[in-house]
């Protein structure tokens, strides 16, 4: 307890996880609304590449592309979500290392891991907002109609992208250990295209990969109009299992990498 000149005393109250959640999410909110250039830039780039894909594809493939446009839009929507969540979390961890704020978090009562997890949630919400806008423009641009049951789409897409969040954590952890590898790990986002278009129904083992099973369910939800409760219980259980598994795995890699970085003395090096 300290006292100021007027005799008024500070009685410091402890902060628990409720205050931590509020502080981290509020920080992310402030950065998002105060500096919208990154989000706008991401939207412009996403729409530009979709425009090239759509108009260029239509010139080359003609009707073949138009016939499969619904699947392409759903896949592209999921890809923008995945890239947004993955790069946001992995780049953010890299930035925290560079700023010296990761080291400050490490020695706090909460540590950095719960903060990183909360940041991941905030990035997910942010990415949903920007990807929803991209989706709306794609639908208008192509004159396509999709089934957009909000509960189904948000639930399936969130659980699908959570596995990518796990990959983001793992990539962030590896970046903490091996700084130069970080930039190369950004290339992984192009691999998401393969995962999103993986033949989950034909090659059943691919359903265990991140994105693949969720992508197939999202196609059914948005193209065929299947509602959340119409999916089979094993299909939903697998979706949840893959999400939790990759998130837990990524979180574990991040924790192990951070501990290793402390052992090697490279936690704050950049």
């Amino acid at each position: 307890m300290t006292t100021d000149e007027t005799g008024a005393a500070d009685v410091a109250r402890p902060a628990g996880y409720r205050q931590l959640i509020r502080a981290v999410l509020y920080r992310e909110y402030l950065v998002f609304v105060r500096y919208p250039a990154n989000a706008i830039g991401g939207i412009v780039v996403a729409l530009f590449f979709f425009g090239v894909l759509f108009y260029g594809g239509r010139m080359i493939a003609g009707r073949a592309l138009t016939d499969s446009i619904e699947g392409i839009i759903v896949g592209y929507f999921l890809w923008t979500l995945s890239v947004g969540a993955y790069s946001a979390i992995s780049n953010d961890i890299g930035s925290e290392v560079q700023w010296g704020t990761l080291e400050r978090h490490v020695m706090t009562p909460f540590g950095f891991a719960p903060v990183a997890l909360l940041k991941g949630v905030a990035k997910l919400v942010r990415t949903f907002l920007t990807s929803a806008f991209v989706l709306a423009v794609m639908l208008v641009m192509t004159g396509t109609t999709l089934s957009l049951n909000v509960l189904t789409v948000v639930t399936v897409a969130t659980l699908t992208v959570v596995s990518v969040l796990g990959l983001g954590f793992a990539a962030g952890g590896i970046t903490v250990l091996y700084k130069r590898v970080g930039n190369w790990l950004n290339l992984l986002q192009f691999g998401f295209i393969v995962l999103i278009s993986a033949p989950a129904f034909d090659l059943r083992w691919t359903r265990l990969l991140p994105l693949a099973h969720g992508s197939a369910l999202l196609q059914r939800a948005m193209v065929d109009g299947t509602r959340l409760w119409e999916f089979s219980a094993p299909a939903l259980a697998l979706l949840v299992g893959v999400a939790v598994g990759y998130l837990a795995g990524g979180y574990l890699v991040f924790q192990v990498a951070t501990r290793r970085a402390r052992k090697l003395g490279v936690l704050g090096d950049y």
């Binding site: 300290t2 402890p14 902060a15 105060r34 010296g100 003395g265």
Partner: protein, 338 residues
């Protein structure tokens, strides 16, 4: 109540009653080696140091002396190979969260805070992650901003501030949660003389008002000399000196003087060099120069002898020993680098 909330609550309570008699920081036999085999480098080699509450301790040493590794090992950012660290009596290895909850650090060459947030938002954020509800220390934040002359900039994004202001914000955010043990690695790096002096003055004032324990590493020996009570000098991973600033500066009743005169010929210089107080003699084109380390009695005796010889002094220069001289003597290195 969760385990983390219990740790935080205990921490807040311990901040209210820091007078437990334990040293603020106790380091015992700390050792850290990077790499293995012939390439291995021992950055910290069996360092044992105790730091009393309310003291300001400077950490000096040449480049690669192991200062940053020592600080980071104490803070748990680097895992040491051997040795123990106790903070406020709590074993940092066994109970890191509890031990570090009353500690914060401003690290060399890093931003340490979020430049896209305003000054006040940074203070609130870092208070929260250090386990303190920011609403409960709002008055403290106002006081800190006032002390560091940041009140007018409280709602300005840190990225829009000058470098000196950014350093002050770093310091304020480190103190925002009420940590009583603070590590400052190069707090004045890159600041102009004016900003550096202001920060030093405010730091000294905050130390007194907030009863802080500060461990400060700086390449600027003036900063260490002005701000610190005690100095630890490291070389090759070891502590080569650990004493009060006054003791290292040789502050006693002896004075180092340089006397120059055209009357100092070879014979006289030879005679003077026999005196215990004379540490050096040098012949010049015209006369010579004599350096003496003398207390009052030595000085009166020497002056009497010079008067008897009819010597006219051209200059009498007082040469104060500074920390840099002490540092060079102890490490054999010109200048310090953190």
């Amino acid at each position: 109540m969760t385990a983390s909330e219990r740790v935080v609550e205990e921490t807040v309570e311990s901040r209210s009653d820091a007078s437990t008699g334990e040293p603020a920081v106790a380091i015992d036999g700390l050792r850290k080696t990077f790499g293995s085999g012939p390439e291995a480098v021992t950055a910290v080699d069996g360092v044992s140091v105790g730091i009393e509450r309310g003291s300001v301790v400077g950490l000096l040493g040449p480049n690669g002396a192991g200062k940053t590794t020592l600080i980071k090992s104490v803070l748990g950012m680097v895992v040491p190979d051997e040795g123990d660290v106790h903070i406020g009596g709590v074993d940092a290895r066994a109970s890191p969260r509890a031990a570090y909850a009353d500690v914060d650090a401003m690290l060399e060459g890093a931003r340490n805070d979020y430049w896209r947030l305003t000054v006040r938002e940074n203070l609130r954020y870092f208070a929260t992650i250090s386990g303190v509800d920011p609403d409960s220390v709002a008055a403290r934040h106002d006081r800190l901003l006032d002390r560091l002359d940041l009140t007018a900039k409280a709602d300005v994004a840190v990225r829009d501030l000058s470098r000196g202001m950014k350093q002050k914000v770093s310091l304020a955010s480190v103190l925002a949660g009420g940590a009583s043990v603070v590590f400052l690695d190069e707090p004045t790096l890159g600041l102009d003389v004016e900003s550096s002096r202001t920060l030093q003055r405010e730091l000294r004032r905050l130390v007194a008002e907030e009863d802080l324990t500060v461990i400060l590493s700086s390449h600027d020996m003036d900063v260490v000399e002005r701000v610190c009570d005690r100095v630890i000098i490291m070389a090759d991973g070891r502590v080569v000196a650990d004493d009060s600033v006054d003791a290292l500066l040789g502050v006693d009743d002896t004075h180092r003087l340089e006397l120059t005169s055209a009357d100092f010929d070879g014979d006289l210089l030879a005679a003077l060099s026999q005196r215990a107080a004379v540490v050096d003699t040098e012949g010049l084109d015209r006369g010579g120069r004599v350096a003496v380390d003398a207390d009052s009695d030595d000085l009166y005796s020497l002056m009497g002898a010079l008067e008897d010889r009819g010597v006219t002094l051209e200059s009498v220069q007082s040469v104060d020993r500074d920390l840099e001289a002490a540092f060079v003597d102890l490490t054999g290195t010109e200048g310090a680098d953190p």
